[in-house]
């Protein structure tokens, strides 16, 4: 999966005159993913680990159908629900309830479906009266709660989560953890991108390690995490106790 970007080098005066106001354009090709191939059967939970810039988010967006691959082919069987960024479709000037509706509709559910779930979601967030106030009055943790609640309550077949949950207090983390487990119990498939290796180890059945766009390893979480830690040279004890949820 290759990105092709152009950016402008800082224009000198001579450049600007010659090129009618613009600097010289440089084209860079970034190979975000090279030769990544794998199968993920149903009811597996896939953890994706790797350094920053390894291509994890690109991979996850490709799976969700947001970025078409430059080469190759992707097949998905099942309904996908993504939590790639918090509050997609949300309008911060509007209240929590209105944003639940917006968020649910943005993900592709009908108005009736969202209305059915609204009470359940509202209760789960434990935001109480804040739900009637505009989201500009929320803290980032509260917004995260709301966004997460909307995403996980929509009964996806395949849930994709991208490092979304580092905010949130301890009780929320516990709730999120519980909810993730219940989703798994319903035999759904999940893809989780995370730097919190303890979460990956605990929740995931399979894991892949991406480095610089290449699929370095596909195996059980324990194997993959060990290999990843070995390569980064970071003390495993420090890293594997980090938890998202």
């Amino acid at each position: 999966m290759t990105y092709r970007t152009t950016f402008e080098k800082r224009p000198t005066l001579k450049d600007s005159l010659r090129r009618v106001g613009r600097g010289e354009r440089v084209v860079r090709e970034v190979e975000a993913l090279k030769d990544v191939s794998f199968d993920l059967p149903r009811s597996r939970v896939l953890g994706i680990v790797g350094n920053n810039g390894a291509g994890k988010t690109t991979l996850v967006r490709a799976i969700s159908g947001i970025l078409p691959p430059t080469e190759g082919r992707i097949e998905i069987r099942g309904r996908v629900s993504t939590l790639l960024a918090l509050g997609v479709g949300f309008n911060p000037k509007l209240s929590g309830y209105e944003n639940i509706m917006l968020g649910g509709l943005a993900v592709g559910y009908s108005r009736a479906e969202v209305e059915e779930k609204t009470d359940e979601i509202a209760e789960w967030t434990e935001l109480g009266d804040f739900l009637e106030m505009p989201m500009t009055t929320y803290s980032s943790g509260m917004s995260a709660r709301l966004a997460f609640a909307v995403a996980v309550h929509m009964e996806p077949d395949i849930l994709i989560v991208d490092e979304a949950l580092s905010t949130g207090d301890a009780s929320f983390k516990a709730k999120a953890h519980e909810k993730m487990n219940s989703l798994l119990a319903e035999a759904h498939t999940m893809v989780l991108v995370s730097h919190a290796l303890a979460t990956v180890e605990e929740l995931c059945t399979d894991a892949i390690w991406l480095e610089k766009g290449e699929l370095k390893m596909y195996g059980t979480p324990a194997e993959v995490i060990a290999a990843y830690n070995a390569s980064t040279g970071v003390d495993p004890a420090a890293v594997t106790t980090m938890q998202d949820f």
């Binding site: 993920l40 159908g65 430059t70 992707i74 099942g78 943005a106 592709g108 195996g219």
Partner: protein
């Protein structure tokens, strides 16, 4: 459990196997049954090639299915903009009134235009209908580029974005119509049967605006200067349309405008029907439909064939 370089086993479409297959090797496309890209339970994503989406009717179906999202988005945007203001929803009426007054003043100062009867009402009618186009185009142009977060994080038929702009323009029209009717009655124009004509004209105009919005949205993604040029282009278009002047005031040298300006017939038919109770010639309907269809097909094709490229370019 799966070795790194294992060749993926290829599953035909079977409902029991759910999961993800990411493969580098190209597989014969025609053997795989195509399903609705956004909604169905089987999706195939392939490299982007400019061209209409493979499952065009599926796309349209999904567009229709997601209309509630579009409606809600439009409503939310309108509400959010008015929330902090003092007059709030009253702006829906104040806006058209102020606009009409400003232009009336302009024309009175120029002292030339106020020679046709009921000039003020004529001006209002033309203004409001042209404004539908102007709003559709300017909001449509920024619709995709300003929804960057949604485009890069959710899979949805992106035609919803410019269409939402058109819907917003229509939403602004309804209160203006009330102002128009009140003004008409105030200046002694009785409700006439030709007022019914407003509906088909508006319908055709909506189609035209939808096409233009989609075209502009695509242009803006590839050529970000579009929004800077747009206001000047719209001004020119405005002066070339029978808003400030009446269709029969056109001098001989200006006759070509009748043919090259799509809005000529829309505005003239609308304003004449509302203010003077004139029925248009039958061929005018043909011309209007022609323009509307052209815009829709052109705008729609340009947008839909390049839509999958947007996420990378925003």
């Amino acid at each position: 459990m799966l070795a790194q370089f294992r060749k993926p086993t290829y599953h035909r479409k079977c409902a029991s196997a759910r999961g993800v297959t990411v493969a580098k090797a190209a597989i014969d496309v025609k053997t795989v049954a195509d399903d609705d890209e956004f909604r169905g339970t089987f999706h195939v994503y392939e490299p982007y090639r400019a061209g209409l989406p493979r499952n065009f009717s599926g796309y349209l179906k999904e567009l229709w299915r997601r209309r509630e999202f579009m409606n809600e988005m439009t409503r939310a945007n309108v509400r959010a903009n008015q929330l902090d203001t003092l007059f709030g929803r009253l702006w829906n009426v104040i806006n058209p009134l102020l606009m009409g007054l400003v232009y009336l003043l302009l024309v009175l100062i120029l002292a030339r235009g106020a020679t046709i009867p009921h000039y003020f009402v004529y001006l209002l009618a033309g203004l409001f209908i042209f404004d539908v186009l102007e709003t559709s185009m300017s909001q449509g142009a920024k619709s995709v580029t300003s929804a960057g977060k949604m485009v890069t994080n959710t899979a949805f038929p992106k035609a919803l974005l410019p269409l939402s702009a058109v819907r917003g323009a229509l939403a602004e029209l309804w209160p203006s119509l009330i102002v128009l009717v009140v003004a008409a009655l105030a200046f002694g124009i009785r409700p006439q049967f030709t007022w019914v004509l407003a509906i088909p004209v508006l319908a055709l105009l909506t189609v035209f605006c939808a096409g233009m919005a989609m075209l502009l949205a695509t242009m803006q993604v590839y050529f970000r200067d579009t929004r800077s040029f747009l206001p000047y282009f719209m001004r020119l278009w405005f002066f070339a349309s029978p808003v400030l002047w009446a269709a029969d005031q056109l001098p001989k040298s200006g006759e070509f405008l009748r043919y090259i300006n799509p809005m000529f017939d829309f505005v003239a038919t609308w304003s004449n029907a509302i203010v003077y109770g004139e029925w248009p010639n039958p061929q005018v309907w043909l011309v209007m439909s022609g323009w509307a269809l052209l815009a829709l097909v052109l705008g729609g094709y340009v947008f839909l064939s390049r839509e999958r490229d947007f996420a990378v370019r925003i």
